[in-house]
């Protein structure tokens, strides 16, 4: 029998989503979207995916929400779609949803998928945490390419908003309270991130969560002008940015030199290599995610 909380969540999510997209005021819908994100994170937690829920909360909701916020101030006047068209599309969507749901209902119940296989081999993978094992080892190729997606996207963002670094978020009025808060929060975030990476090998957690949290801190610094805008001109930024991808490249390429497979970890080195790789990735991900934000005006004094 399905617990009421699950039933509630499962029904609530689409309704909120619909509200998100139907609201006329964009800012409202962004706020609603963040709420929606948190709820779906909760749903994922209910599905025993706390790690994924964490990422969803940090990246999917927190960062995306902040990004959306930072890009508001739309000059487009909302154009309410013609009602008949809306109805037609809603009808089609409903039909599709029903069809897909019934298809999903046909999927084999109680299937374990590749779970057992992963558990059986996670010893060799060098990380006890199955998800991390899949991400960094069994399907490391995906993660490698995904890292490149992130990097390429950041290059794209930089090349798109070149020359307009000055425009972007109107940086918040920085009252001393905010300052104090930031100065408290940011170090805490850094510690938390480090902790997440370290325990990623054993329990839920890892580079992406950590990176997202660091990025959150960095954005705070950006908003409060405690940190100069990131640009590829800065040595430090470049180092942070490329640490992960370059290390990943080496991990992928070097084994080939010894007649191994691409991304093959040397026997027994899996654990430590992955830890190192994850820490490097954390830095890069944090940098990239921060770069996704409008950088604001160059700060008078440099810090961090």
């Amino acid at each position: 029998m399905i617990p009421p909380i699950d039933l509630l969540l499962a029904t609530a999510l689409p309704l909120i989503a619909w509200r998100v997209l139907a609201t006329d005021e964009l800012p409202t819908s962004v706020v609603l979207f963040i709420a929606f994100g948190l709820l779906s994170a909760l749903a994922w937690a209910r599905l025993d995916a706390p790690d994924v829920a964490l990422v969803e909360a940090a990246v999917g909701t927190g960062l995306t929400g902040a990004l959306l916020m930072s890009s508001l101030r739309s000059m487009e006047r909302p154009r309410p779609p013609s009602p008949w068209r809306a109805r037609a599309i809603a009808l089609v969507a409903a039909a599709i949803a029903v069809a897909l749901a019934s298809v999903v209902a046909l999927l084999p119940r109680g299937a374990l998928g590749l779970g057992p296989a992963v558990l059986a081999r996670s010893e060799e993978s060098g990380v006890a945490q199955p998800v991390t094992a899949v991400l960094m080892n069994f399907r490391g190729h995906d993660t490698h390419l995904e890292m490149l997606v992130l990097l390429a996207a950041s290059i794209g963002v930089l090349s798109i908003q070149h020359g307009t670094a000055s425009h972007g978020v109107d940086t918040a009025p920085t009252s001393s309270v905010v300052m104090m808060l930031v100065e408290l929060i940011v170090p805490a975030l850094v510690v938390l991130a480090g902790y997440l990476v370290w325990r990623g090998s054993r329990a839920p957690g890892g580079a992406f969560q950590a990176g997202a949290i660091l990025a959150g801190g960095a954005v705070l610094l950006l908003l409060t002008r405690r940190m100069a805008p990131l640009s590829l001109e800065r040595q430090m930024v470049r180092m942070f940015l490329f640490a992960g991808p370059v290390l990943f490249f080496l991990v992928a390429a070097v084994p080939l030199g010894f007649g191994g497979d691409m991304l093959e970890y040397p026997r027994g080195w899996g654990g430590s290599l992955i830890l190192g790789l994850e820490s490097a990735l954390t830095l890069s991900i944090a940098t990239i995610l921060t770069m996704f934000f409008p950088q604001g005006a160059p700060a008078p004094r440099r810090r961090g």
Partner: protein
């Protein structure tokens, strides 16, 4: 109905809602929101599929896929928003955005 199925159904309806909004709305920002909504719908389906076995640990592979998917969709969103900001910076939106889809 097992919980996972409820969530999966909820996921596909999220997907449908997002998609229809993506088709329906003219505003770019709303399209981006819609894309994110249906993305989280797909992810929810995957997470639900991982939890089909009533007990024991969930299938880690869909979780890994979702993590990858989230990062990809964040990258896409960031790129899209950068384009929006730049277009706005260039005062007017280009004709191909004015056209209603």
């Amino acid at each position: 109905m097992p919980p996972w199925l409820a969530y999966a159904a909820s996921g596909v309806s999220l997907f449908a809602v997002g998609m229809s909004a993506l088709v329906l709305h003219g505003e770019v920002m709303r399209k981006i929101l819609a894309a994110n909504v249906s993305a989280s719908g797909v992810f929810l389906v995957l997470v639900a599929l991982a939890r089909r076995a009533p007990k024991g640990p969930p299938d880690p592979v869909p979780h890994a896929l979702v993590l990858t998917g989230i990062v990809v969709s964040v990258s896409a969103t960031a790129l899209a928003l950068a384009l929006v900001r730049q277009l706005r910076h260039g005062a007017q939106l280009g004709p191909s955005d004015e056209r209603r889809r």
